[in-house]
Amino acid sequence: MGLKAVVSSPSPAFSTDESGAVEVTNVGHVYETASGTTEALTDISFRVETGRFISIVGPSGCGKSSLLMMIAGLVQPTRGTITAGGRPLVQPDPTRIGVVFQDASLYPWLTARSNVEFPLSLRHVDHKIRRERAEEALDLVGLAGFADKHPHELSGGMKQRVALARGLVQDPPILLMDEPFAALDEQTRLTMGDEVLRIWERTRKTIIFVTHGLSEAIHLSDEVLVLTSRPGKLVDRVSVDLPRPRSFEVMGGRRFEELRERIWQRIRS
């Protein structure tokens, strides 16, 4: 509870639109395995307003993925509650939340288009609509010409774009991304970051983005949540008050360095 003092006060609500809001209240999670129990997360509370871009950083094993899985409804928290779009999640709801995973996790037996259509086909959406929407999503991620390729014919970055299109195809107000670009090379990672920003600015979705890269987190987000490990706790919320679009100068500037320094200190503590 002492945490509350450390955590800076939640930012004022930007809108009253609940559709893309995520609220995490006193959430904790304990994994039970044959070899014992692991307390992955403890007493996490935060709220994300509709349309905000939030990053989560923290040391390896602090429970970032677990937290994201719980928000996605893939894992049930052992304690606390989570609401997305104002309603609790008892199971995954792809119309509310799209997820993009670290390794693109595309189905190798489907074409890029069919991979993007996959969520729609699960709900028996009409063929024509399915196709249109997949085309739109692929277009949005800049892969219009690659619809009929199979994953093994695509580069790592392109695969992630397909995964992104798959996350966007049902137009969910919330998008969760778990280290989506960790497996990519530095250059591709930078372009993919810009790509996500461009899409975010066009669609104004709520994005919760897990990453190991502090610069990446600052570059992309409105706010950075800092977790520490064993068990994972929320130790800081850092508002990124840098102007957008964030140019090279801004990224190399003093304020940027200060923010980075602060986050780094919090992670180490």
């Binding site: 189905y107 190798p108 699960l122 709900r123 199979h150 093994h152």
Partner: protein, 260 residues
């Protein structure tokens, strides 16, 4: 597996398929020449020029066609029983951690002991019959099917399942659209290898005790020194086995990239 790397062993190297064809041709040539020039007794090793026409002749005989049909039918029935049964048993065991811990070592053990020596027991149980052949074929195949099915189930990537769940797939959808295609490459391999065991089991059962089937005729022709007929039948059996094997292998290589 990786036919792409076949070339490039040197500037003057010939492509592997050509070399292979040449090797096979050379072997056939030796087989033809050795008995004809008197190096080997042509009654003991009938050359291709005798065996080839004999194959044609055999297919003209209703009796031989009947034996062939019997063997193929037994093989097919045993296969159609053992593959689904083995697969379903493997799923039932593989899906549950506790059941896996108990049964996998047992299945592995039974898999690794020789099956042929149990042949007499099948005769005690079923008499010398179609049922006995099929039962023995199933017995010889079931455990390899289970072993390979375990591998197939394990080959499905966990993240593929998580994606399906995060997009709200039902249990049925997950099975049909993720598990099944995900397992296909390994499953094809399972079908291919199981067929080797199955075909061997049926032929052995026929050779051991039966009144009909290819196994029965080769045993008879061997004892009667009709080596031209024996060789011709061996070639037919080998051809069936190789064609089936290579067909499945071709399918496997088509979905090779699914394994990533």
């Amino acid at each position: 597996m990786n036919t792409a790397t076949v070339r490039n062993t040197g500037a003057r190297s010939i492509p592997a398929p050509v070399a292979r064809a040449a090797l096979v041709a050379a072997l056939i040539a030796v087989w033809q020449v050795a008995p004809t020039v008197g190096l080997l007794d042509p009654r003991l090793l009938p050359p291709p020029s005798v065996v080839g026409p004999m194959i044609v002749q055999l297919f003209g005989e209703a009796g031989f066609r009947g034996h062939l049909a019997t063997t193929l039918l037994e093989t097919l029935v045993a296969f159609l029983v053992s593959v689904p049964v083995g697969f379903i048993m493997a799923i039932l065991i593989g899906e549950n951690k506790y059941a896996s811990d108990i049964f996998k070592p047992l299945v592995f053990f039974v898999f690794s002991i020789p099956k042929s020596i149990f042949l007499p027991l099948f005769i005690f149980a079923f008499g010398i019959s179609f049922h006995q052949k099929v039962a023995f074929g199933v017995f010889s195949t079931l455990f390899i099917v289970m072993m390979l099915s375990f591998a197939a189930i394990e080959s499905v990537r966990r993240d593929h399942l998580v994606v399906a769940r995060s997009y709200g797939a039902t249990r049925m959808q997950t099975v049909l659209r993720v598990y099944l295609p995900g397992m296909t490459p390994v499953l094809l391999e399972a079908i291919r290898v199981s067929m080797i065991f199955n075909f061997t089991g049926i032929l052995l059962a026929e050779m051991y005790a039966s009144r009909e089937g290819l196994g029965n005729v080769i045993e008879q022709w061997g004892q009667g020194f009709q080596l031209d007929r024996l060789m011709a039948t061996i070639v037919v059996i080998a051809a069936i086995a190789i064609v089936f094997n290579e067909t499945i292998r071709a399918l496997e290589s088509r979905c090779e990239h699914w394994r990533e």
